[in-house]
């Protein structure tokens, strides 16, 4: 039966969209008239353009110019010189490597821990679930600066609780933040302690919202718990995990405050991240051209990774 026939026969009480006179669907548009709905979203669009669009475009413009704050205003147009300078500096390359190590480590560790904890908390009939959840969420409520200060003390080689515990167990204490081999793992550990809660909240919300029927059907079909998790729960949870990974990945790539408090990028740049380096170039060296170029590069990398992740996830879904 064609659309026209359906429209002609119609269900009582309903009028097919196609059967309505066109003039009732669309108001006559006068020349120069801006619909009300456009007016409603216009402030948001203007606001976004002002606080997101303009700074982005300005940063891009600055990145193409020589701009040292002490030289008095924006200087010559230097095309992509700032970008090539940034990419050619060892200190930026080192910061980029550190950022990749930090980001990959914290995202994977936090996701694994959050997923495990979410599965435990999602067990049917679990008692005191809310109390466990409240305790697990505490780190999320603490500001990064406070987290840094607390952990700086806990990791103190002489007075810190971590080394005290190790020594109590008969193990040697470590200079956690002052040693090249332990500084980055220590920073990663602190970040995992602080940020896992965020992923836990997201993943647990996703788990709770999953339909029960597919899992029940899988159990009826004879699947064990691991098979249910691997073939049903995880694929259904994949979009939520993607969002969680994206949020954490973007935040981890911008890590600054924790580094500032814990190590100031040391020892010898071993924990310096791109964001920390950008701040140094911008506000210590006052070189806004290179700082903007590095910021644009960081943005491009984040955009590219986001696009890749979304694409991978879509392929998986298909």
């Amino acid at each position: 039966m064609s659309q026209d026939q359906l429209a002609g026969q119609g269900i009582p009480g309903r009028v097919s969209v196609e059967s309505r006179p066109r003039e009732t669907l669309q108001r006559p548009v006068r020349r120069g008239f801006i619909p009300f709905r456009i007016w409603m979203v216009l402030p948001t669009i203007v606001g976004l353009l002002a606080v997101v669009g303009f700074p982005l475009l300005y940063a891009l413009w600055v990145s193409l110019h020589e701009y040292d704050l002490t030289e008095g205003g924006i200087g010559d147009f230097v095309r992509f010189e700032n970008f090539s300078d940034v990419l050619g500096m060892d200190v930026f390359i080192q910061a980029a490597k550190n950022t990749v190590v930090l980001t990959v480590s914290v995202v994977l560790l936090e996701l694994a821990i959050a997923l495990g904890l979410a599965l435990l908390l999602n067990q049917p009939g679990l008692r005191f679930r809310n109390i466990y959840l409240a305790i697990l969420l505490i780190p999320l409520l603490v500001s990064p600066v406070a987290v840094g200060l607390i952990w700086r003390l806990l990791l103190h080689p002489d007075l810190g609780a971590v080394n005290w515990l190790l020594k109590t167990l008969g193990l040697p204490g470590q200079e956690w933040l002052g040693n090249r081999s332990t500084a980055m793992p220590a920073v990663i550990g602190v970040d995992v302690w602080h940020e896992t809660s965020l992923l836990l909240v997201i993943v647990l919300a996703g788990l709770t919202a999953l339909p029960k029927e597919p899992m029940e059907a899988a159990v009826v079909d004879g699947a064990n718990r691991w098979q249910v998790f691997w073939t049903v729960t995880l694929p259904l949870l994949a979009p939520v995990i993607l969002v969680a990974v994206l949020i954490r990945m973007i935040a981890a790539m911008k890590t600054y405050d924790l580094i500032y408090i814990l190590t100031a990028g040391g020892p010898g740049g071993a924990t310096e991240t791109i964001s920390f380096r950008i701040w140094k170039v911008g506000f210590t060296n006052l070189d806004m051209g290179r700082a903007s170029a590095a910021s644009v590069l960081l943005l491009l990398v984040i955009l590219a990774l986001t696009a890749i992740l979304i694409r991978v996830m879509r392929v998986e879904e298909n």
Binding site: L69, G178, Y260, G265, G268, A270, K280
Partner: protein, 447 residues
């Protein structure tokens, strides 16, 4: 300097010194608070409000306590925005770059390593003419020459008026130095008498031996090797102490990688590895201060307020046990804070009235007697000052023999570069020579 951590300590100092020092000061000097300042001040700017960004520490509190007098005399209201050190530079730069009259702050409190940057960027007024027309209200001869060099003059012009100084020196445990049993132990280990070292080499050798005398109880030195400001401020004393410098005298090329620079780096690395507390490679002033106050370090090449904290703070275990002397080798680092008027100041003339008042001999003396480290010479001749704060008697020598950072525009960048490479060497990533070579290569870009 690392202000975040410094501020934590200084805040505690405020509490301690507020009780010990400011309390006494109030009794002795606050009775004079109604006395008119000797400096003539104008009421022409009555009703004006001055906005000033200040670091949140004792010296700011000392000025703040006296502000009602200024407001009464001039009708100018002064509003201090007190922040921690790390955010000061960012906030100031944003305001200074706003252009003439468009800034937020009427008056600046400037750390010594922003002095060249702000002046050469054209962000602050040359105060020469104002000083000349001040009828002696601001007289630069009241200040020590080294203080003027460090925090006041750039390229022969006076852009800033010194506010206070924070000299560094060798802080040591006088009680242990004089303790016969300790001296005997030292002599048995070292084969020579324990005495104040005269060279950096002697100092490092000495603290390495002391480190072995009472393992885990007493460290040879409390050191701050955290990358960035802490490690560089400490290292400057080693560098200057062995006769080295970052650049040659004419600022034509870096010299930090010459024989003296490398020697200083080697000594510093040796000290931090073999004579300092565990974790010194990532320690800052807060850590060294705590260690010093616990009585667990024989010495520290540090700021004077490490010593004053040890004397003033309630929980300190080293009250009356510390002393300070000039850096072995005879030259150390001194930092300073100064007043400046930004070109972006909406009220530059009212700001100048404030500087005239706050740096008048009477107010400067009263600030010093409250516990501030005076930038002017007069307090050091005042027996009341040196008897109330005995360590201040040494400060004049510390200031006179010390110097600041080299006169490159971007001193903060210099600190960042040297801090990064030296920290790498301390952590074993590079040799001292490699670290100094790498630093020199980047330092040449600052000329």
């Amino acid at each position: 300097m690392n202000g975040l951590n410094r501020t934590v300590d200084r805040r505690r100092l405020i509490k301690g010194a507020s009780a010990a020092g400011v309390g006494l000061w109030s009794g002795t000097w606050f009775s004079r608070s109604t006395r008119a300042s000797q400096t003539e001040l104008s009421r022409e700017y009555e009703g004006t409000t001055l906005n000033v960004l200040m670091e949140d520490l004792l010296e700011t509190t000392l000025v703040e306590e006296l502000l009602p007098e200024f407001e009464e005399q001039t009708g100018i209201k002064v509003q201090f925005e007190k922040v921690v050190y790390p955010v000061m530079h960012d906030k100031l730069v944003a305001s200074l770059a706003a252009g003439e009259g468009g800034g937020i702050y009427d008056l600046l409190e400037v750390d010594f390593y922003w002095v060249y940057e702000f002046a050469r960027a054209g962000w602050v007024e040359d105060l020469g003419e104002r000083i000349a027309n001040s009828n002696g209200a601001i007289d630069l001869s009241r200040y020590t020459e080294s203080v003027l060099n460090i925090g006041s003059q750039v390229d022969g012009k006076t852009y800033y008026i010194p506010m206070y100084v924070y000299p560094m020196g060798l802080i040591y445990r006088k009680d242990l130095l004089e303790d016969q049993a300790f001296r005997d132990d030292y002599q048995a280990k070292a084969g020579k008498e324990l005495a104040l070292p005269t060279t950096v080499e002697e100092y490092v050798e000495q603290i390495k031996i002391i480190q072995q005398l009472r393992p885990d109880e007493l460290y040879g030195a409390a050191m701050q090797g955290m990358q960035g400001d802490p490690i560089v401020m400490e290292f400057c004393n080693y560098l200057y102490g062995v006769g080295g410098d970052f650049y040659d005298a004419e600022l034509t090329q870096p010299t930090i990688n010459n024989e003296l620079g490398v020697k200083a780096a080697e000594l510093y690395i040796d000290a931090i590895k073999n004579a300092a507390q565990p974790g010194a490679a990532n320690a800052d002033l807060n850590d060294t201060g705590a260690l010093w106050r616990q009585g667990r370090a024989f010495s520290a090449v540090s700021y004077l307020f490490l010593l004053s904290d040890g004397e003033n703070l309630e929980e300190s275990q080293v009250k009356g046990k510390g002393a300070v002397t000039t850096m072995p080798g005879g030259v150390g680092l001194t930092g300073s804070w100064s007043w400046g008027i930004p070109k972006s100041s909406p009220n530059p003339d009212a700001a100048w009235e404030f500087i005239k008042w706050v740096e008048s001999p009477d107010i400067a003396m009263r600030r010093a007697l409250g516990g501030g480290v005076a930038a002017q010479k007069a307090p050091y001749d005042n027996p009341e000052y040196t008897s109330k704060y005995p360590w201040m008697a040494q400060v004049r020598d510390l200031i006179a023999t010390s110097k600041g950072l080299p006169g490159v525009t971007k001193q903060a960048t210099l600190v960042e570069i040297v801090g990064r490479h030296l920290s790498d060497a301390v952590a074993g990533g590079k040799s001292a020579q490699e670290a100094m070579d790498a630093a020199a290569e980047e330092l040449s870009d600052l000329l």
